[in-house]
Symmetry: D2
Subunit: 177 residues, 4 copies
């Protein structure tokens, strides 16, 4: 986006402004569970990102990120999927804006199943079929595909941070897998 669009950078938050806002109001996020589906719409596998955290810990993660000022939720979903899975992932953005659930990440642990020490984030959660070639981008080390049965194993869920294991289980329940 360029300076000439109404969404120009001057309308976005500088890092310190974002930091301040994070202590004062809920921040809007999207979470996406990337899946492969067959011609009948049956989910055959689930994609999880492998990331190294700042502290050098390895975690598995969903595709996740902020919705920007003057950005549609659909566009944020597409942007974060392409950012994490690469430009050839061909995500099929859901035609309904209804999320399968909302995940409320609180800075205080235990208020909900979800926790984010940096902020109070409210995330609209979607399951998104991807049809192209996925290549982990940026800070993701790998993208691994799991069958729905593998994905719900305790060992996999335990590697997910911030309560995203619970969100993954909710997404799998939603698709009937």
């Amino acid at each position: 986006m360029t300076q000439t669009t109404p969404q120009s950078q001057s309308h976005w938050l500088a890092p310190d402004e974002l930091e301040a806002a994070r202590q004062r109001m809920p921040i809007l996020y999207v979470d996406a569970i990337p899946v492969r589906a067959d011609s009948h719409g049956v989910v055959t596998s689930v994609g999880l990102l492998l990331r190294a955290t700042g502290e050098g810990k390895i975690t598995r993660a969903l595709v996740s990120g902020r919705v920007l000022y003057h950005e549609r939720v659909r566009s944020a979903l597409l942007r974060h999927l392409e950012k994490d899975l690469g430009p050839l992932a061909l995500p099929r953005i859901p035609i309904s804006p209804q999320p399968f659930t909302i995940a409320e990440y609180f800075p205080t642990p235990g208020v909900t199943q979800y926790h984010d020490p940096r902020q109070h984030a409210v995330s609209l959660a979607y399951v998104v079929a991807v049809e192209g070639d996925c290549e982990p981008q940026q800070d993701a080390l790998e993208l691994n595909w799991f069958s729905p049965i593998e994905a719900r194993q305790e060992s996999v869920l335990a590697e997910m941070g911030g309560g995203q294991g619970a969100l993954l289980l909710q997404g799998l329940a939603y698709v009937g897998a």
Copy 2:
């Protein structure tokens, strides 16, 4: 399907048996609203079939049909979409089995918005993106694509029978169009 599968024809209903069942129990249906969507998942057009009824009346219709014995709802949805739109339609069957609503067609008019003089049918309703080439099949005369704004015009809705105009409006509401 062949005689060797558990779903062999002997398990299905003969015409007179179907007729009898229709007077005695609700019959399970699926309704599909075929749509075109852009890369952001925004619905750009809606497909409606043009049919001639037995009485020579012209009506517009959604893709609709029975779920058979031992058939999954997903498979029924795919079968009816391919039957009405042709084998190259490439419908993206929804990954969640949750319908956006159910339509209860009663033989008695006025119980619900939906009416079917032949039977009490309960239909699971889905909006389905189709990505391939659609060719109306069988008893459909044409398949016409409407923008969401055109599709909700009174003149279009009035051409739909059995309350399907109301179902179309519900589907358009569901996708936020």
Copy 3:
């Protein structure tokens, strides 16, 4: 209902007719997960019926039953809840007919997570808050309330037949519990 209504008993199925239909077409059911919720809508407990099966086995079960000819899904839901939980249960029937999922019970095990040796049943599944006094009726021995955490324990889920443990987990995921 009396003989004078259009839904008179003569329109329903005699036992042998029901038996025949069950071998020929999917039968429409509703499944309800009865819950208690607090003033914020947070589910605090889940009610499960304790039943003795014909073979003398003890199982836990959801509220479940057929939709009759010319009966609305809402009415079937209310009828089965009052039949199983008693006339003072005060169920709050959901205002939207959209089920949180559909459960496809196949006579052949393994086609889906759900199994019913008697028939192919397709069930519309709802979570229903009940606000009154519940008394198990008819063939139910007891009604037991579990916290959401207790309800998802392996020992509880293992006592549920036909895949209803999976449906219970989906319902708990749907309410975010």
Copy 4:
């Protein structure tokens, strides 16, 4: 809430900070459509607030408001319903956090159906049954109940601002009314 809670006022936004944030990031809202429902869950009437805008114009409105820092969406929903309908309204907060849709209010008209000149707000929309006595509070002049048929009349929808008429229609579609 008092100074001793983690949600103390110091964590909230001062008016000028809120003003600044509104130009920089999407603000999280909830919208609620208050309804009366019968024992079968059928919506019998819809409640709309009558408000005078700053410019002295009269508009009809849904219950609507911000989600605060460290506040659950359920709590925000309850707070705004009690604020607008009074403490005896007895709203039945939905047991699932899944909104029936999201409404994206943009400061630029025409991006979506929804428009808010003050800000980019993303609202989670719910239909909420209220069972008690409703009294309009604060800046609402009246609360009027409409049958679902009356509520969708062009004359009523035209009195609603910011695209809330479209949201009302979506909510009515969701409950099958």
